[in-house]
């Protein structure tokens, strides 16, 4: 496989590869999330008995990681590539290695390793076992067999792959600073680098995240999202207007995602103390758990 020329070519090749493996290629979730795992296509679909196979790019935001676009590989907004297959196929490791080949990693030249990593998300009440995948000493992906999500034991088990796209692409393309990475084909008439697209936004968001975001507003929004999530889930299963059984797991989960992001923003503003931190994480987890409880009662989870 030839070496890709740009960031987007790596994404396109991953999309093509996982489409060929039979995954539904979904689009990013239209909300601010900290990682691809938050997309309901992973969090909720890992629950219940129905088979599932999806792959997608997810723009992810980690306000505390903002460095005004100056750090060679730290960003407050970045992309993850996420694959979730349920039940996990017996050859998932081989399929994963195939994806590395697809993006131009030559297995005869590189040292690929599966290094123990017990994954845990305290905000989602989720954990799994798997590995960090190393390529020549660099972590290029996380590979996890989900055991529990939202406090529910998974059955069947999903296999989750998460690629940190910028880091992986920088390595494949041999680029030392993320802002210098070609986003589209460098020989295109209008060639754009990652920096031309994102340097300014990294600066803007870093300033807002760290110094300007109104903490009172954020706090209020956190609490509103929390309350709305609870309200949604407290509704009767049967909709009085249509007479149908409609459990609103997804709208409730949107509020959980919102609360989680508000917490991340508050954290970046430095207004959450060490002890408060645990309490906030617990509140988000409690929402995630309730959303999971709701989802497993729906037909998407295989409930009658």
């Amino acid at each position: 496989m030839s070496t890709p020329k740009s960031f987007q070519e790596i994404i396109l090749r991953l999309q093509t590869y996982w489409a060929e493996q039979g995954c539904a290629i979904l689009q990013p979730y239209d909300m601010e999330v900290g990682a691809g795992t938050f997309h309901p296509a992973t969090t909720l679909r890992a629950l219940g008995s129905k088979p599932w196979a999806a792959a997608y790019v997810q723009p992810s935001r980690r306000p505390t990681d903002g460095r005004y676009g100056e750090n060679p590989n730290r960003l407050q907004h970045y992309y993850q590539y996420q694959v979730l297959i349920k039940p996990s196929p017996p050859n998932l490791q081989e399929l994963y290695l195939g994806s590395l080949k697809a993006i131009g990693i030559d297995m005869t030249l590189h040292d690929i390793r599966f290094v123990e990593d017990d994954w845990e998300s305290p905000t989602l009440g989720a954990w799994g076992l798997g590995w960090e995948v190393w390529c020549d000493g660099m972590e290029v992906s996380q590979f996890t067999y989900f055991q529990q999500v939202g406090g529910h034991d998974c059955h069947p088990i999903s296999g989750e792959l998460t690629y940190g796209l910028e880091r992986l692409a920088m390595y494949v393309l041999g680029v030392d600073h993320v802002m210098n990475m070609p986003f589209n084909d460098p020989s295109a008439p209008i060639a754009l680098t990652y920096g031309e697209i994102f340097r300014q936004t990294e600066e803007e968001y870093a300033r807002w995240n760290f110094d300007v975001a109104n903490t009172e507003v954020l706090l209020r929004q956190f609490e509103e999202a929390e309350a709305e999530c609870e309200t949604i889930l407290a509704q009767e299963a049967v909709d009085p207007k249509t007479g149908k059984r409609i459990i609103m797991a997804h709208p409730a989960y949107d509020q959980c995602i919102k609360a989680s992001h508000m917490f991340n923003l508050l954290d970046a503003r430095g207004v959450i103390s060490v002890t408060e931190r645990q309490a906030y994480i617990g509140r988000v987890r409690s929402l995630a758990t309730k959303c999971a409880d709701a989802f497993v009662q729906t037909s998407a989870a295989g409930a009658a």
Binding site: P72, N73, P87, S88, P89, P90, Q93, M107, T108, L109, H110, D111, I112, R113, F114, V115, E116, D118, G128, L129, G130, W131, C135, D136, G137, M138, Y145, Q147, C154, H155, P156, I157, G159, Y171, D176, V274, T275
Partner: protein
């Protein structure tokens, strides 16, 4: 006889779990087989990142046939009883034998339990083992319910002898045992069949898998050293890292790379820790400069370009990591040069424990205690206090935030940069020590004062809030802290009575209890050094036993005395005297403790005992006063002969009440003399 080969092939097993899992596999399999009557000559295990392997040599082909005889009901017993017996034995009336038993006739059954073929037993035991394997953390995968540490991929299970190889018929949740395995993930991924262990071992090596962990370790270490030696460098030893790395690769390929010039001035601890923790690299030192200048990484593949790409990638990752470390170091140096005040202040906001206040509060207590302890350990009180005040300042540094294991080490660098004395800097580094039974104990007086104060504050604090260790739970490592205090005192030969140090930090009523905890830890510590627990008990019961050095000296002397023939027999004599005396005191309701007089001695041996006691007392009292326990114990041991002779020749409960009383009072002298040396009632024997 046959040989059994089992391989459980899976996705990558965490390095630290491989060796214990291999041991468990051996234990569970061999125990299970032996329990079923299948004995063997020898069993060994092997492990790599992807396989657990067990070889059992000279296994019986079948478990032996067992004959059992069972006694049944009497002849003429109710039919129900006889039928029940027949059902239980699986026999019919004709199979029973009638025998005379005492006065009646009884039915006997001879039951033959036929042996079972090895393959059947192995299949059964292996299935049970797989289903109940004691992984510390296991998982499910796919749609199955089987648990393993990571998904199981295949099971190889064959029995082989000179004539044939047979696959053990076994299926666990869809995994059917086979004679197939696979080689290296990238260099030889195809499946192949094996006919026995030798064949397996040879073919695996051909398929780029070194089966033995020791062999992988040796290969890595030897190759790393050879490459370093060729440049006049040396690899920094790290047995833990070597074991871990050998668990990550099936075919180790050692590559040595350079650390960029701009990072070479970082402290060696930082380079070592960053490379080890993040990258699992070995450090390579240049003896000429005393710096760490290179690294060794271990790849799992013989790359087409001899590892050039792999090395370049690793070097790049390392540079990014070290750039972070350098950034922290430079920021920290600015704070250190400014005197570390901001770091100390920041510890006001760090909770040590929610019921024990902030780190800053704790540091103030430690500083006061270090000052108080200083004269007893030969340290300057001002310096001890000053050292304690800055010893934990590095907890606020960026480097220690990133690498908590560098606490103390960074403290030393920063204290020196802040212009503090070498003694204070050393205390910053070593006051956490000793961290375990084999860790070095600080010896510099200032370090000793801070190290003791740190641990005593921890212990009294957690005791005061009743957070004591229970069973295997010791979340605050209090046993380790107590052992640290014990080793600091004993190995530095300190005279430091603990009792008042245990109350000085508000432990209140917990002090006695805490002293008992120390004495328990001391018992464990001394038991490992060959001192009997009853000997320690006998000494703990004596006064001043909160002075641990004194306590140990006494225990060593007592153990020495008990090791002699006289000493050992004295215990018998003492106990006999004590028993007779206690019995008489209980019966008579009086205490025989005074007034033994030689003029009422009827017998020569009695007089000898009187004289011996006088002589022993004359030696023991001055010896005890100067803590010369060996002399005191030796003097006590000389009583053995006279005591033995006394019991041989004399009847204590004489007919004459006067003589009896005198003899009991004499025994009381024996007791008093012996107990003045150690509480011999606690000595077993």
């Amino acid at each position: 006889m046959a040989d059994l080969l089992i391989e459980l092939f899976s996705e990558e097993i965490p390095a630290g779990l491989q060796a214990p899992a291999a041991e468990n596999l051996k234990k569970l399999l061999t125990n299970g087989m032996v329990e079923a009557g299948l004995t063997y000559a020898n069993a060994s295990t092997f492990h790599t990142a992807r396989r657990l392997t067990l070889v059992v040599e000279d296994l019986l082909d079948a478990s032996p046939t067992v004959q059992e005889e069972r006694k049944g009901p009497k002849v003429g017993a109710p039919e129900q009883a006889i039928n029940g017996f027949l059902r239980g034995a699986g026999l019919s009336m004709n199979d029973l034998e009638v025998r005379d038993d005492k006065k009646s006739q009884v039915y006997f059954a001879k039951i033959t339990k036929p042996g079972r073929p090895a393959s059947e037993i192995v299949a059964e035991v292996l299935e049970t083992t797989i289903r109940n394997f004691p992984w510390p953390k296991s998982m499910r995968w796919g749609s199955g319910s089987l648990r393993w540490v990571r998904p199981l991929q295949s099971i190889l299970c064959i029995l082989s002898n000179e004539a044939e190889v047979s696959i053990v018929p076994l299926e666990v949740d869809g995994f059917k045992a086979d004679n197939q395995t696979r080689g290296h993930r990238f260099m030889a991924p195809d499946a192949f069949a094996v006919s026995g262990f030798e064949d397996y071992d040879t073919k695996l090596k051909r398929a780029k898998v070194i089966l033995r962990a020791e062999e992988r370790q040796a290969a890595i270490w030897q190759d790393a050293q050879t490459q370093a030696f060729a440049l006049g460098y040396s690899v920094v030893e790290d047995a833990g890292l070597l074991a871990e790395v050998a668990g990550l690769v099936e075919w180790p390929v050692v590559l040595m790379g350079q650390i960029d010039e701009e990072f070479l001035d970082l402290p060696p601890e930082v380079l070592k820790t960053s490379m080890k923790e993040h990258q699992k690299f070995f450090s390579v030192a240049n003896p000429k400069t005393g710096r760490i200048e290179r690294f060794v990484t271990v790849a799992n593949i013989e790359a087409a370009d001899q590892g050039a790409t792999i090395l370049k990638g690793n070097q790049k990752v390392l540079a990014a990591r070290l750039a972070d470390a350098k950034f922290f170091w430079e920021n920290d140096l600015r704070e250190a040069k400014a005197g570390m005040g901001a770091w100390q202040a920041a510890l006001e906001n760090v909770t040590f424990h929610n019921r024990l206040g902030s780190q800053a509060g704790r540091i103030k207590r430690i500083a006061a205690l270090a000052r108080d302890l200083a004269p007893m350990v030969g340290a300057d009180p001002d310096m001890a206090e000053q050292a304690a005040l800055v010893a934990k300042a590095d907890l606020s540094s960026e480097m220690v935030y990133e690498f908590p294991e560098l606490q103390g080490h960074m403290g030393r660098y920063y204290a020196l940069k802040a212009g503090m004395s070498a003694e204070i800097a050393a205390a910053c580094e070593t006051h956490y020590s000793p961290l375990g039974p084999s860790d070095d104990v600080p010896t510099a007086p200032v370090s000793v004062a801070v190290a003791l104060a740190d641990k005593l504050d921890t212990l009294t604090g957690f005791w005061a809030i009743d957070e004591k260790p229970t069973g295997s739970k010791d979340p605050f490592a209090l046993r380790r802290a107590a052992l640290g205090v014990i080793r600091l005192i004993l190995e530095n030969h300190l005279t430091l009575p603990l009792a008042d140090k245990l109350t000085s930090a508000d432990a209140g009523a917990g002090a006695t209890d805490l002293l008992g905890f120390f004495q328990d830890r001391l018992k464990t510590y001394l038991r490992d050094r060959g001192i009997r627990h009853d000997v320690i008990d006998a000494c703990i019961a004596m006064p001043q036993s909160d002075d641990l050095a004194l306590l140990v000296k006494r225990a060593e002397a007592l153990q020495g005395a008990l090791a002699t023939d006289d000493g050992e027999n004295l215990i018998q004599g003492f106990k006999r005297a004590n028993n007779i005396l206690s019995q008489a005191e209980e019966n008579d309701g009086v205490e025989y403790s005074f007034g033994a007089d030689v003029k009422y001695a009827e017998n020569e041996v009695e007089k000898v005992l009187f004289a011996a006691l006088d002589e022993a007392d004359n030696k023991i009292q001055p010896a005890m006063a100067t803590q010369d326990f060996a002399t005191a114990m030796a003097a006590m041991a000389t009583l053995r002969g006279p005591i033995d002779a006394f019991f041989e020749a004399v009847k204590v409960n004489a007919d004459s009440a006067l003589v009896r009383r005198n003899r009991l009072n004499l025994l009381s002298r024996v007791r008093t003399t012996c107990l003045s040396v150690a509480d011999l009632t606690k000595v077993e024997g």
